[in-house]
């Protein structure tokens, strides 16, 4: 029914997107736009954002705003590093997740237990996370400790004693590496698809696979199980849930603790990626994760898209300045496609009412789109080298632009951020 159609539409959309990007790549000669390296980097950079976003999703679906994700993620990185150097990657995973969960528990106690404003508690946790970890480093990693001899410093832990396995798809991405061969031909569309698939299937960290799997899993749990229904009902109308015997407090606690655990998992992934804890390595990803969740309309799929977009833009930015400027070209192509669709629609259905009713505004937007396309193409041709500062912000600006285009349809859980007290309803 409608679900299958939506699913098909998504696939068609992705295919169309790859085609457009491929076109842009052919025009500009920037092979990095769809290279496997870019997509491997995009995946690695998107995973922690996506995990933080999932953390945000779990909390906010239960009605608790979690701006403290960043702090919880920091706790996750430190404890993953600390446990990992002693007992290997499984211990790192457990410790990172547990540390994040404890951050979540503190947030839950403050917001659910005491009814403190959610933003304020989150801000406090963002202060506490770096403070506590710095303190622990100062105590446990100082000169003369065993950790220090293993390479720890005030800003880093020793390396993980064992690393999480990395997995490749046989034949396609490893051994004969067929995808790699295809990619290097630089054919239209085929190489692009090969690049994307290659990047996503070669030497992928186990945790990245887990993280990607957590997106559909979250969807399944929240939208297909009784537990998920209860959890969401708590975020929509806790009083209704309470009146039906749902234990609102417990669910909120569980959700926020899971939220923290996800943030901690994101931190753990960061540690896995470079095999040790480095102070400050979260780089504000908790906030970006929150942004990607809002971007994704409080849904796992949208959130994954947001995180991917951000990771992709960031990866591209780090790898190739030239490729970033082609975003202008990409924008121009998108605008032209939009124009073409509009024109076709108007030519086909020339119902007088529609034109009378909505005509003027429509034509204005079309004119604006055309002008925009021209400006973008001009920019692309003129600015071959943007100042670096503008390259660094590409992901953020892209996010803002997409939000400007799509934000009015966003809908957050109705009781999100609301302080809930049992038996109190004004």
């Amino acid at each position: 029914m409608t679900r299958t159609r939506k699913y098909h539409l998504t696939l068609i959309g992705i295919a169309a997107l790859i085609a457009v990007v491929s076109l842009v790549r052919m025009i500009s000669g920037q092979n990095d736009l769809t290279s496997s390296g870019t997509f491997a980097a995009a995946l690695a950079l998107a995973v922690p954002i996506g995990l933080a976003g999932l953390g945000g999703l779990w909390a906010e679906r239960a009605g608790v705003v979690n701006i403290g994700l960043e702090g919880m993620m920091v706790l996750g990185t430190w404890f993953a590093g600390w446990a990992g150097y002693q007992w290997g990657f499984m211990a790192a995973l457990v410790a990172g997740v547990a540390a994040g969960a404890i951050g979540g528990l503190i947030h839950a106690i403050a917001t659910v237990g005491f009814g403190v404003d959610h933003i304020i508690s989150g801000v406090a946790i963002n202060l506490l996370g770096p403070g506590v970890t710095r303190f622990l480093s100062e105590v446990l990693y100082k000169e003369g400790t065993g950790a220090s001899a293993l390479g720890a410093g005030i800003t880093t832990s020793p390396a993980l004693s064992t690393k999480a396995p990395e997995i490749s798809l046989p034949i396609l991405s490893s051994g004969p590496n067929l995808l790699g061969d295809l990619e290097s031909t630089h054919w239209f569309l085929i190489s692009d698809v090969a690049g994307v698939l290659g990047g996503l299937t070669r030497n992928v960290n186990l945790l990245a696979i887990v993280a990607v799997a957590l997106v559909p899993l979250t969807f399944f749990v929240l939208w297909r199980t009784a537990f998920g229904l209860r959890l969401r009902s708590v975020g929509e109308n806790p009083w209704a849930a309470e009146s039906l015997g749902v234990s609102v407090y417990t669910l909120k606690y569980v959700a926020v603790v899971i939220s923290g655990a996800f943030a901690g998992l994101g931190g753990t992934f960061l540690v896995f990626f470079v095999s040790k804890y480095v102070e400050g390595q979260t780089q504000g990803r908790g906030f970006i994760g929150l942004a990607s969740m809002i971007f994704g309309n409080w849904r796992p799929g949208g959130l994954a898209a947001g995180a991917t977009l951000f990771g992709y833009a960031d990866g591209l930015q780090l790898r190739s300045k030239g490729a970033v400027t082609t975003i202008f070209l990409f924008g121009a192509v998108l605008l032209l496609v939009y124009l073409a669709v509009k024109v076709r629609k108007i030519v086909r259905s020339s119902g007088p009412v529609e034109i009378a009713g909505t005509g003027a505004k429509e034509y204005t937007t079309m004119a604006a789109a055309a002008a925009g396309a021209v400006v973008l193409i001009w920019l692309w041709m003129v600015i071959d080298k943007l100042p670096d500062e503008f390259v660094y912000i590409t992901p953020h600006v892209l996010t803002l632009l997409v939000l400007l285009a799509a934000s009015q349809r966003l809908r957050m859980p109705k009781a999100d951020g609301v302080r809930y007290r049992r038996g109190e309803q004004h």
């Binding site: 202060l127 303190f135 809002i294 803002l400």
Partner: protein, 379 residues
Amino acid sequence: MPAGLYRALLTVAGAVVAIVLAVAISSVAIVVAGASPADAFAAFFNFGETPRAVVNSITAMINRAVPLFIAGLAVAVGFRMNLFNIGVEGQYRIAAVVAAFVGSTFVAPAWIQIPVIIIVAAVVGGLWALIPALMKVGRGVNEVIATIMLNYVALNLAAFLVRGPFMGERAEGLLTISTPPLPESAWMPNLNFLFELFGLPAPRGGGLWGFLVVAILLGIGLWLVLERTRFGFDVKASGLNPSAALASGVNPKKMVISAMVLSGAIAGLIGVPELLGSNHAYNNNFTPGLGFLGIAVALLGRNKPVGIAVAALLFGFLDRAQGPLQFANVPPSVIIIMQGTIVLLVVVSNEVTRRMALRAEERRAARELGTDKPVEVAA
């Protein structure tokens, strides 16, 4: 006891309990670190041996509190109407760099130039905050995400400006990049005479920032605006109940724009004390993070100017102890732990006391009405 006094006493008592608890928690950390809590807390109050050291310490504490106070005010304006301006950080950076550049280019007598710099900073901060406001009003973009993203943009833009068009000359061998230095006419007079009044030596160097006066005036002004004017009433109404505010004739779009711009304009001033008081230029080491700390300060101060002032002083007091703690061989990160726990515990106690006060209010209302005869039907 009058209800207002009862509420105030309750709040103070709550805050004291919270701070005591925070001290206890930090003591545990200090012991874990192998130091003595007694030494550590002595360090907080150790302002130095000589009068000059004491004066310097007090100056450091207040000079730290001034920008935090302004940052708290900026954040509070938005928070009062549930508008989350997380973008204070970016707003003050952009404002500071532009104001520094304008101040170095435009030279006039001090009484003109200093106000011009302050106004430029406020205008730039306000304009930068206008972007998320317009995005929210026009396209419904959530201001939290917009301001977070714009922070990154502002940071990079400021870096670009100070490295590019706004870069000033620098002495041979210096690696900091900064805007051209402000002429002396733009140096704000300091308040060192205050120390001299008490027979203390003046702190050296920049001394106690003259901008303290502006900050106090700003606090009073903002208090008047928020508590006494129609605009302040509209802000409060929009925060307490947006739909009731709408029905009462408050235009929510206008409110979002004006509150956001006011918040941004105040945010624009955060960097000014440092600019006019000691740095006299915007450089790439310009104090970061004030915007984020401002959130904590505002929330700690319950979004009220007096509370924010107390919170800012508390933060200044704690931050100042970074050095003395290290003299006492205590890891300075204890301070951040203390700040975090204090924020958390104070807001918890705020919540508890707020509820106690409301409960008391209801009880009082019920008690005073308890003498009523049964309801009579009016004819």
